[in-house]
């Protein structure tokens, strides 16, 4: 039981600036909380506002119809199709190259000139402004190769832009696999590649999948790089839904920009509102599915 505290006890606060420090601490804590909650609030406001602007625009017709050049009532069907089409093309190029490079850097490369050059180039690629990468695509695919504006050109430019992020995801995923697993496999006489393919890669499948989906969510919103590579138009009428990689392929995000800045349609504001909302919803779907899938996979592969 507590004995009564002697009244003569030394007070805890000696000659000190304690009250002042406590105040500073409380103020700082309050500011940090405000900043953090501010971010969450900001996101909530964004989502709410885009819903408010765009919800009434979205209809089956809007989501599926081809866009209109001059009159009102155009849809964004081909643009949605192109966004996903270019995304898939980009992933087809990006995933193999980025995982391979990531595996090399993480598992094989020793510190040295080659390694640091690759790192420097990857970091530079990741930092190149999207529009600058777009101009590189314009030079190579449009001016040198004479492809004109194509889905393929857009996808290749996007590939260069997103390689580094996926390489990093790969490296982090591989790094998360415990060293003991590698040693266990090598000790059984497996070669390094066998170990990577049968032990390390399966062990990092969950973070890899999550990372790829999150990056896919970013690729689908890329715009500046596509304006001068994939173009700002779609083929007219039914042929707008076009699987030919050598056709111009305006994506939804490009459409949002183009309608605002160069479009002639009278309902440009509605189309912008609807497109912005659809883009946001796509990003949300990608983020949520990345989380769900990542959690499911890691449960599956780590045995609950």
């Amino acid at each position: 039981m507590t004995a009564t505290t002697p009244s003569t006890a030394t007070p805890f606060v000696r000659k000190d600036n304690a009250s002042q420090r406590r105040l500073a601490d409380a103020v700082a804590t309050g500011l940090l909380w405000t900043a953090a909650l501010g971010i969450v609030l900001l996101l909530a406001v964004f989502i709410g506002y885009l819903l408010y602007l765009g919800a009434h625009v979205i209809s089956w017709h809007f989501l599926t119809a081809p866009p209109s050049e001059i009159s009102a009532g155009g849809g964004i069907g081909p643009e949605i199709f192109n966004s996903f089409y270019i995304l898939v093309l980009t992933l087809i190029f990006t995933v193999p190259v980025a995982t391979a490079a990531g595996i090399y850097l993480q598992e094989y490369a020793r510190p040295g000139l080659f390694n640091s050059t690759v790192q420097f180039c990857a970091e530079s690629l990741a930092t190149i402004p999207s529009i600058v990468m777009g101009l590189f695509g314009l030079i190579v695919f449009v001016q040198v190769l004479h492809w004109h504006f194509t889905a393929l050109g857009g996808a290749l430019a996007l590939t260069l832009l997103n390689l580094p992020a996926l390489m990093r995801v790969t490296q982090e995923g591989l790094a998360s696999v415990p060293q003991a697993l590698r040693e266990g496999s090598m000790a059984l006489g497996a070669t390094k590649w066998q170990t990577i393919r049968r032990v390390v890669l399966p062990g990092s499948i969950a973070p890899l999948t999550t990372g790829i989906i999150l990056i896919a969510g970013r690729i689908i919103g890329e715009t500046a790089v596509l304006i001068y590579t994939a173009g700002v138009s779609v083929s007219p009428g039914r042929s707008a839904f076009n699987w030919n990689p050598f056709h111009p392929a305006e994506t939804l995000s490009v459409h949002l920009w183009y309608t605002h800045s160069e479009g002639l349609v009278p309902d440009a504001v509605d189309i912008g509102n609807g497109s912005a909302l659809v883009l946001l919803l796509i990003v949300l779907v990608f983020n949520i599915s990345a989380r769900i899938l990542g959690r499911g996979l890691s449960r599956h592969f780590t045995g609950k």
Partner: protein, 262 residues
Amino acid sequence: MLSTEPVTTPVRATKLEVKDLNVFYGEFQAIKDASMDVPENRVTALIGPSGCGKSTFIRALNRMHDLSPGVTVKGHVRLDGQDIYGKDVDPVTIRHRIGMVFQRPNPFPKTIYENVVYGPKIHGLSDRRKLAEVCERGLRRAALWDEVKDRLNESALDLSGGQQQRLCIARVLAVEPEVILMDEPASALDPIATSKIEDLIGELKRDYTVVIVTHSMQQAARISDFTSFFLLGDLIEIGTTSEVFTKPKDKRTEDYITGRYG
């Protein structure tokens, strides 16, 4: 439990009085109903096999557990009679009076000088001449002054491990605490550095109350006046060091002293 009664004839006034202390990591109880008196100006050693709770116990003495979410502390620790876990007690002011030296040297990535004057500075001392005095006094008392007096503006991370640990002690001394808690301060050091730290602890008890966790019974025997033995979260026995080591009251203490535990 009989054996946890405080030492019968305290030589000095009780500086810290621990009463019914319990520490939980979530559901797991790491310290069970520990009570002991820590006498002023003496060295009290906490010994026991690893995982026995001695580090958990010492971290409860200046409310370091407050920093870890999920750790709950129940019971009383009285500093000069006043409960540091009482209502409206600011742990920050507690730690000003009860300093701590950690297992591994943890100097700030700053200069030697900045490390020592850090405490006085945050407590409001800003006069440059006074800070320099505090720095020299702290380093002298930590027996480090002669080795570093010409390189006070070099990074503390360039010092050897033993010097870093003495710097950490100097850093604690500079805020003029009343109690110094040491959590295995020599466990990461070589024998020579260890013996320097041990000599230093012998010096410190003239001005301070020292509580030290050690995994080495020889170290406890060499430097401490009182020894308490922990096992699986229980404080088994406390007494003068010579009593505990030569005629332990509890069978479990005897088993440990004679080497029958790991």
